[in-house]
């Protein structure tokens, strides 16, 4: 192994030189956490599982955007931290916690109560008790944003079908229907009370519409078999399916319209900084909708179903699936 010391200097000077370099590097690395970054307050980033690509992306984008000191702690999919990490987290003295994913939010509520929290990538945030100190960016694009984007992508689309559970999504459906009407589309809904009604719903709805809009409704998407059925029946009826998550691309979704994660991270960072500087301004909105969209189009499916994508919208497509 190569000796990294300086060959023509006495050992004492060599070791002193190394110490100076060490101190210099240490100071450089410590600068952000010493509060030299220009902002105010400190943030603890709590990641549900940093090995999940989308959580990792959110963390990196958040870190790149914020100007205040921070540390990050990875829960690695668990709800209990090793003692060392727990101590680090408890002693950091953060003014705000950025929770990535549902686990992180639940963990923070339980272990770090009464601290300001901002969450992101929490599916259906309404199912969690959101206290006064909790803020966030929701994981679902607004119905109006989705309807407008659909109209933008497919100018000739006139009607879309949606199967939903009235118990869970009646309000969403009513709002989406109005929003769709505003952009010149007709949303045809088919309510179902239980997963057993899915077969009949598909049989009745598909002939009436040009495409099927799949929403995150657990009564509709009750199992893998239900998802397979939806895509199989839609394909038989030559109807494209528009989905909300890229996972559905493997089943044959013609379009995936979801949240743009880097934008969500930037929103969370802006929200966090405005909360830290709250004395300067008013109270921000508790939970804001995501502002950026991610669009993936399956070119083979759109061609197969004769679904023409607007030429002007081509530059808006993030991914072309082939």
């Amino acid at each position: 192994m190569k000796n990294s010391s300086f060959p023509f200097m006495p050992p004492a000077i060599n070791s002193l030189k190394h110490s100076v370099i060490g101190i210099f590097l240490g100071v450089c690395l410590l600068l952000p956490s010493l509060g030299m970054a220009g902002g105010q307050g400190k943030i603890l980033i709590l990641n549900s599982n940093a090995s999940i690509a989308k959580y990792d992306l959110l963390q990196k984008e958040f870190e790149a955007y914020i100007s205040v000191p921070f540390i990050s702690v990875d829960l690695a999919g668990k709800m209990k931290l090793p003692e060392e990490l727990n101590e680090k987290m408890q002693n950091y003295g953060q003014d705000l916690i950025f929770c990535i994913g549902s686990n992180a939010l639940v963990f923070a509520e339980k272990n770090l109560p009464n601290q300001k929290r901002v969450f992101a990538s929490v599916i259906n945030w309404r199912r969690f008790p959101i206290g006064n100190a909790t803020f966030g960016v929701s994981n679902e694009l607004l119905a109006g944003m989705q309807a407008t984007t659909l109209r933008y992508l497919f100018p000739k689309l006139e009607n879309i079908g949606v199967i939903y559970s009235p118990r869970l999504n009646k309000e969403w459906y009513e709002l989406a229907r109005q929003e769709a009407r505003q952009v010149g589309m007709k949303l045809v809904g088919h309510p179902i009370e239980s997963p057993d009604e899915l077969d009949d719903a598909l049989e009745e709805l598909l002939p009436k519409v040009q495409a099927l809009w799949l929403i995150a409704d657990p009564v509709v998407i009750s199992s893998k078999a239900a998802v397979q059925k939806i895509f199989r029946e839609s394909d038989s009826a030559q109807r494209p399916v528009f989905a909300y998550n890229e996972l559905f691309a493997q089943y044959g979704a013609a379009l995936v319209l979801s949240v743009d994660l880097p934008t969500m991270a930037r929103q969370a960072a802006m929200l966090s900084e405005s909360l830290l500087a709250q004395s300067k301004g008013g109270v921000p909105e508790k939970v804001q909708p995501p502002a950026g969209s991610y669009i993936a189009v399956n070119a083979n499916k759109t061609e197969k179903y004769n679904l023409k994508v607007s030429e002007e919208a081509m530059s808006f497509i993030n991914k072309i699936i082939e």
Binding site: Q182, D260, T263, R266, G281, A291, F316, I317, N318, I320
Partner: protein
């Protein structure tokens, strides 16, 4: 074992021996000719594409600070697929300006696709000359406009602006619009993937204002008239060129070939599809009058 059963094997061995002698004799007879042929093949290989394609290829670097185009994988795939049928081109999109500019310092056989604003900033440093301008709706220029939902009581210091351009470019456009420092704080600029996202973020109350192109606003007015009626136009920027194709001044033959290739794209459906991915409809040669405006 009977000897008769070994006969076919012995026959085969004899045949093989005869065949190998024949090959040996032929090689000896024509060895000079064969060597010459091999030499010729090698010369052709090195002169005509024998060098690895990657080293010999013309790189097309893309970075746009004006539009938050982030479909890099699809862009790379589609452009490489199209361009490879027309020559040794390789498309390389960049998400970061520093990495993009780092590449420009490392070679001379390349073309760049970049915003006119970015071109003006770096043309001198990298000795670039413009070749083509992007065209949309028959024009090589576009305006940017600032819109807001409730323009009354807009306090610029706390104004959150959604923009599909980079933060640097957004600040520059706002300076142009207001003819001075806009007062908008850098940390209040929310970059979003697309103009339509910026418009919807205003429409649905996520941001107070949006900086978008005039073309996007017109399109949005057609798509969602109800929402766009609630927005007001606050200010507009001067006209600015769309995407620019440029090359190093020393790369003359490359720029001529590229001009032909890129101009021809709009005439073929496959080429047109790729141009549309950049938000354009065709390319136009840079005129003498454009040069002056590009420098401004």
């Amino acid at each position: 074992m009977k000897i008769s059963s070994l006969l076919p094997i012995l026959k085969k061995m004899r045949c093989l021996r005869l065949l190998s002698r024949l090959v040996e004799k032929t090689v000896m007879m024509f060895r000079h000719k064969l060597l010459r042929m091999l030499g010729g093949c090698l010369a052709l290989y090195f002169l005509w594409g024998g060098v690895p394609a990657e080293a010999n290829s013309i790189k097309i670097y893309f970075y746009s600070s004006e539009s938050n185009i982030n479909n890099f994988k699809s862009l790379k795939l589609e452009f490489d697929r199209y361009l490879s049928t027309h020559g040794p081109y390789e498309f390389q999109p960049f998400s970061r300006r520093d990495l993009f500019e780092g590449q420009l310092a490392n070679g001379e056989r390349y073309l760049v696709l970049l915003s006119s604003w970015h071109y003006r900033n770096i043309a001198g440093k990298y000795q670039l000359k413009p070749i083509l301008l992007g065209v949309l709706h028959g024009k090589t220029t576009q305006k940017r406009v600032l819109v807001a939902k409730n323009p009354a009581n807009l306090e610029t210091a706390r104004l959150r602006i959604a923009s599909a351009s980079s933060v640097d470019h957004t600040e520059e456009v706002l300076r142009h619009i207001f003819q001075q420092e806009s007062g908008v704080q850098r940390e209040n600029i929310l970059t979003v993937p697309k103009d339509i996202d910026a418009l919807m973020s205003v429409g649905f109350g996520i941001s107070r204002a949006a900086l978008i192109t005039e073309n996007s606003l017109v399109r949005f007015q057609n798509i969602n008239p109800t929402l766009s009626q609630k927005m007001q136009l606050l200010a507009e920027s001067p006209e600015a060129f769309l995407l620019v194709v440029a090359a190093p001044q020393s790369f003359t033959e490359g720029s001529e070939a590229a001009a032909q290739l890129f101009q021809a794209m709009a005439e073929q459906s496959e080429g047109k599809k790729r141009i549309q991915m950049l938000g354009l409809e065709s390319w136009q040669l840079v005129q003498a009058s454009d040069l002056v405006k590009l420098e401004k």
